[in-house]
Point group: C2
Chain length 395, copies 2
DNA sequence: CTTATTTAATTTGATTTACAAATTTAATCC
DNA sequence: GGATTAAATTTGTAAATCAAATTAAATAAG
């Protein structure tokens, strides 16, 4: 409503600069449809504000005429932090405003669930420490994005439930903001993987895709129209607890037939245990190896997990019809689910149209990707804040 | 990008007028944040163009001062047609630009599947006839919205497959536009029910909701952010073919375990038949009545359908987390699935958060609702066209 | 019946903003 | 060193918004 035209121009140009990394004004004018005159005016404002900077074009332009001057986001403009709380560790990263990583940090935790105040204080300490690594302080951080497992109402920063917190229904976002003294942006960890894929990973350039993650649980992040889709309660997309079997296997959420109850580590181990009458104490890795080696029992357990997973994926496709599905996970942990045979079963289970089924890609990465996704989320929010501030500065 | 500010203003004001039915300028200014001066200018343009008209305010305002003058969409500005192709019939409606129904029509068809050219010609004839009922002609119709079952790529007007067409992969939208000589907007019928609910029904005022329909198949329309969500292939939301059972019952789509294969009419009858060893030839109504009357076999068939349906619904909730689910259907046809017990099972199957589960409402209506939804779709598109045209007129 | 009051709508004048066209800048080519 | 080329900026104009002043149309008061 009260978004005047100039603000729109600033936003589109800044976003375009960010997307391209480095780009000269004339291309900005072409791509956005904004006149060259206005591009000059607006980029001058952004330069004055320090959000962007000029760089001599390094593209091999041997042409005549005045050479292009590239514009890029000014990395030094803001300092961004991102973090992800895992089972018994915290990963943290520090990015500059361009998105390049300045520092990273892994912290072991002695327990899984924490009291929210303690956890906030602990995070404040570690983010501060990380900042000091590059001779900055916690107060210099313009925003901190944090990913946490569980059911999170992101816009409100409210945690309905999380395995990392001892209490339910915590205003964790507010607690964090108060403790750290800087803006904190909290979200479900699966959403932040989607964010990471969109900003740095395989989702770049895609406006609609789904990311499925398998850690200890099964998570999902949905990007629709270039934005992360969060249901109305702020906590949609509980893919792991979609039901794949009526009155099926018991899930740790207390319900029956959840997808997670068939594909998660604990589910596989539980089955192996019961098949052997309580004798089997193998780890997941061993079980998978045994399945590969021809062990019939292990094979059937793993195979069923794969079929269930394929069915869950197919349902996603039937409902969302995405152009891309990214199966994201740490290392090889869930490789049996990401196997080509599983994807093939999925393809058979989706509605058959004379059109290519969605592309399915597997993206394996380390622990820090989660934290980078969280930072990307903060980066988005801080950029928005920075542009918001300009309204007042210029006026 | 070449959307100038004035166009934005026109759009927001026109949309606001449409939403409120009748509203004075001063309230428009307040609601949209556009200044009173600009509201005067823009509404003057819209009046001159004939898209809106002034009506003396009938709101019981006994206050002093200059009385408010309400603005409303000018019904006579455009004539809109909507249609829906059912199994062996076509429903058609004619609306004015305000959305009030001017005429309706039901046509019997002698067959289910049609050759696309013939069907187009047939529709052209009947829409023309309907127009003549109110002393207008086919050429006076500004746009025709048509709903058809099957898999439709709405933006392209392309039908991948439909039970109403003999051929697959038909450019049916283009054929219709050519045959009728007016703009035609084609969509999947379930999407158009969502459209109808949003424009005239229970979805009014909701920006995010899901509509589930049960006719012969199970359909779904999804509204996200005030817009109908269509996957990337234009054909998302195949709720009826989400899988609820691995290697389950055979569906008419050729796959196994589809929701539809458990809840559709033919599925119920098939089961009754096989339970009785081929002796049972009851109709669905009889089967439902028998179940109510205590017949154990019928009861278990109906009950399982309900449980499967609840599971499918719960999966929708777990994935979308909508604020509202509308179960829309013709009359009592699917009442066994819409029963409170089924909804209760669904509530138990969704992820439990300390927050109210989505509201579920049942909306029963007649055949013409589909056609009205199609007309609403056309209305949207024609409004857009009309505003587009203004650019040239004013310039 | 006339005047004051109140509120909606319009008009006016100033300001913002975007853009086309003209100009300047900075390079290469000959 | 001038001609040429292309990017970026400056200039002048047109479009569009808005605050403030004005007009319009009603009721209330005297």
């Amino acid at each position: 409503m009260s978004v005047n035209q100039r603000e729109i121009g600033r936003r589109t140009l800044f976003a375009e600069i960010r997307r391209h990394g480095r780009i000269p004004r004339i291309n900005l004018a072409e791509l956005t449809g904004i006149s060259r005159a206005t591009v000059t005016t607006i980029t001058a404002e952004l330069l004055r504000e320090g959000l962007i900077e000029e760089v001599m074009s390094e593209s091999s332009d041997k042409g005549r005429g005045r050479p292009k001057v590239d514009l890029k986001v000014r990395g030094a403009a803001r300092l961004i932090a991102g973090g992800k709380i895992s089972n018994r560790s915290v990963s943290l990263v520090l990015l500059d405003f361009e998105g390049t990583q300045l520092a990273g940090h892994e912290v072991e935790l002695d327990q899984t669930a924490h009291e929210s105040g303690e956890l906030a204080a602990l995070l404040a300490g570690h983010v501060g420490e990380l900042a000091e690594k590059i001779d900055r302080s916690l107060a210099d951080v313009a925003g901190f994005g944090l990913g946490i497992a569980g059911i999170v109402d992101a816009p409100r920063g409210f945690v309905h439930w999380s395995p990392s917190l001892t209490a339910r229904n915590v205003e964790f976002g507010k607690i964090l903001t108060a403790t750290l003294g800087i803006p904190v942006f909290l979200d479900n960890d699966a959403n932040l993987v989607a964010m990471a894929e969109k900003s740095f990973g395989l989702g770049q350039g895609h406006s609609d895709f789904i990311v499925v993650t398998i850690e200890s649980g099964v998570g999902m992040g949905v990007v629709i129209n270039d934005e992360i889709y969060r249901g109305t309660r702020g906590c949609g997309a509980e893919f792991g607890h979609t039901k794949v079997q009526l009155e099926g296997a018991l899930c740790r959420c207390g319900q029956r037939g959840c997808l997670e109850a068939y594909v998660a580590d604990y589910a596989l181990l539980r089955e192996a245990m019961s098949a052997s009458g309580g004798q089997d104490s193998r780890q997941v890795e061993e079980l998978l190896a045994a399945a590969k080696g021809g062990d019939a029992v292990a094979g059937s357990i793993v195979e069923r997990a794969g079929r269930m997973f394929a069915m869950g994926l197919a349902n996603l496709v039937n409902i969302f019809d995405p152009e891309l599905i990214i199966l994201a996970g740490e290392q090889m942990q869930a490789s049996h689910l990401y196997a080509e045979e599983v994807i093939e079963v999925m393809r058979k289970l989706i509605v058959q149209v004379d059109k290519a089924p969605p592309e399915v890609v597997v993206h394996k990465w380390g622990n820090q990707m989660w934290a980078r996704g969280a930072a990307a989320y903060a980066l988005d929010n801080v950029s928005e804040l920075a542009l918001q501030e300009m309204k007042d500065h210029v006026a």
